[in-house]
Symmetry: none
Subunit: 218 residues, 4 copies
Amino acid sequence: MTSETPRRRLAPEVRRRQVLDAALAVFSEEGFHGASMDAVAARAGVSKPLVYAHGGSKDELFAACLRREAERLLRSVQAAAGEPGEAPLVRLRRALRAFFHALTTQRAGWTVLYRQASTGPFAGEVDALRRRIVEQAADLMAGGLGVPRAVALPYAHTVVGAAEGLADWWLTDPDAGRATDAEPADVLADMLVTVVGPGLDALTGGAIGVSAAVSDER
Amino acid sequence: MTSETPRRRLAPEVRRRQVLDAALAVFSEEGFHGASMDAVAARAGVSKPLVYAHGGSKDELFAACLRREAERLLRSVQAAAGEPGEAPLVRLRRALRAFFHALTTQRAGWTVLYRQASTGPFAGEVDALRRRIVEQAADLMAGGLGVPRAVALPYAHTVVGAAEGLADWWLTDPDAGRATDAEPADVLADMLVTVVGPGLDALTGGAIGVSAAVSDER
Amino acid sequence: MTSETPRRRLAPEVRRRQVLDAALAVFSEEGFHGASMDAVAARAGVSKPLVYAHGGSKDELFAACLRREAERLLRSVQAAAGEPGEAPLVRLRRALRAFFHALTTQRAGWTVLYRQASTGPFAGEVDALRRRIVEQAADLMAGGLGVPRAVALPYAHTVVGAAEGLADWWLTDPDAGRATDAEPADVLADMLVTVVGPGLDALTGGAIGVSAAVSDER
Amino acid sequence: MTSETPRRRLAPEVRRRQVLDAALAVFSEEGFHGASMDAVAARAGVSKPLVYAHGGSKDELFAACLRREAERLLRSVQAAAGEPGEAPLVRLRRALRAFFHALTTQRAGWTVLYRQASTGPFAGEVDALRRRIVEQAADLMAGGLGVPRAVALPYAHTVVGAAEGLADWWLTDPDAGRATDAEPADVLADMLVTVVGPGLDALTGGAIGVSAAVSDER
DNA sequence: CATGAATGAGCATTCATTCAT
DNA sequence: GATGAATGAATGCTCATTCAT
């Protein structure tokens, strides 16, 4: 018999990450229902009971993936958005750049979060995340300028939706954002600011110097 | 056997529509994997083999639902967009209004298209549809004004993504678009034009009279 | 390929009995936990889903076996016990004869009822059955003679317990009851009456002519 | 690792008893199949491998419990039965009293022996025990009076079965044996002698002074 | 010696799919 | 043409058992 990988003993947290990583990959490729625990185990290179030991039931495992990826994504974007003192569109642009950058390293996570989870028993969890993101965006604007919340909220939904649309495009089409030789993530973020920035200006009655913000920080 | 409902022989195309309708309903409620062929048959009020006879395998059935709903949606929007002669933003707004209106009568279809199908073996099919929509939007602008395709395409992705985001919001949150007592579908469409219109103006170097178009046709 | 048994279509009630019979056999041999649905299916010569279709879940299947066997057994004994008008010991003897006779054709049922089910989620069901039997026996005596219930009840438990003990012996040991060439079931029943009859006489202060009853109806 | 409970090295036989006690408790509560080795280990407060080291496989562990409890029970009863010199019914009554008394302190053991083990791979073991008990009872009578073995054996089965029936009743129903305020174990034992004593007298043609024995030793 | 970590094997259950009527 | 009856193939999950430390 060829010397199979010997039954190594690993630290629980290492194993847990291993399992979560495998689960994320499989879930993102096959979807929640399409993914089998066997497939997760195989991907992780371990036995099925170990998956259960470290990840719990299939539902728990999926929820754990979800939460981990959401946390990661939110953290990146929040850190990039910076302090409330700055100009809203500048903060928005930095946040969007961070968002598109994060997707490059979290492609599977994004897929799981936005394509797999919005259905089934986790719609609630994902909805909550989405709401947190949108709220954050709405706060960014409602706080930064005097925009009333009732105006900021649909705007935030629009921007977040647009970002998701571009993200999907980017992850699907290899040419997306590659018109120039700048970093595609930045190109897409800037593009988005260019498109929605003036609209925000219009909504707020010119409270922001859009063009300045848009042309800034290149 | 006592002749209960006499199991009328129906014309094949009628049966087919019956089956597709049932399938759409079940798929939209339970998701692709959650839906069982038994449930579809029960919903259609026919036997399972008949479902197979008229709808093919589960995959084929799902794909058929997908295509039918996509066709419907595209047709509505295309019809509303009108002729190439008119002002792009006017056409865009009409198209968006039609889109949001269509969702009210095609809620199940939308759910299936965008929540269930974007994963699994149908991602391709959905992608193709999305691409058709985006192409159409890009044409609308690239044709209407002198915008180069390379600029129009990402813009189109942005707008379509934003529309999807708002649509999800709308279908999820009962308050979405109900700030005034205007038709919510129109409110959302107009909101979107307000947000992305000026950006288009900026992108094209002022080729369109945005403000006019935006305030027009109220 | 050798012509396997062709997938015959059978009437539902026939199939159901087939499945129940197989389940009873397997349960009686392996116990509830030891029995696998695969084994039941194999024994019935059908596929596993068919077992589920006709027998429900494993629990339901077991419960169904239980109830069917209990019903059978009770019916036999009740019929044999006859009308309240007759002498108690005569009725008791006839009932016991019927009981031991029933065991010959219901060996598996007995095992399932008394050896498998007294544990696990069905203890309640079996307890109820046992109580019905004991109550019936107690009534037989409390009603037939003037014995107070408080005396009849432990007596009934004693007699039923003794009958079960003999039954186990009989089903285990091939020699049991074969001292003479009379029907073993009858020998055991009569033996039991001989042993416990005089005790009943003693308990009731000689209300019954035991010896007469005991020697009667040979 | 911080030395919590220092996991004392214990003498092997002490450990073994610890493990057997835990196993008995778990088996009696959950049944053979329902009991998991994890549960046994947890109950014993030791690790699973230690259970294997001291108790062997699950089957062996169960068998060990079985044998230990059987031994205990037999010893109690044998000791109580006393010397062959005495009157058979007196000895029987003492033995029965000891039996019912033993159950109060060995409830778990009884449950395991008679409810869990009578099925599956241990039926043999339990049968052997039962046979030893019955043999003993038969010897008691065949030896004490001139009864031939062929008569004594079924009688013994009857008495033992009746005792088991009463025991089950007692352990199930809290009112059993509590008519007077005498010790229930004694009440049940005496009750049993009252019921089966006269029958033995009848079988042997009046060789024993039943009434004397029965009323004796109150 | 004692254990945490790991696994092979099995089980109840469901479902898409297809014959026989 | 339409259906009730049947099945092959998975799938989620658990457990007795054993290494590596």
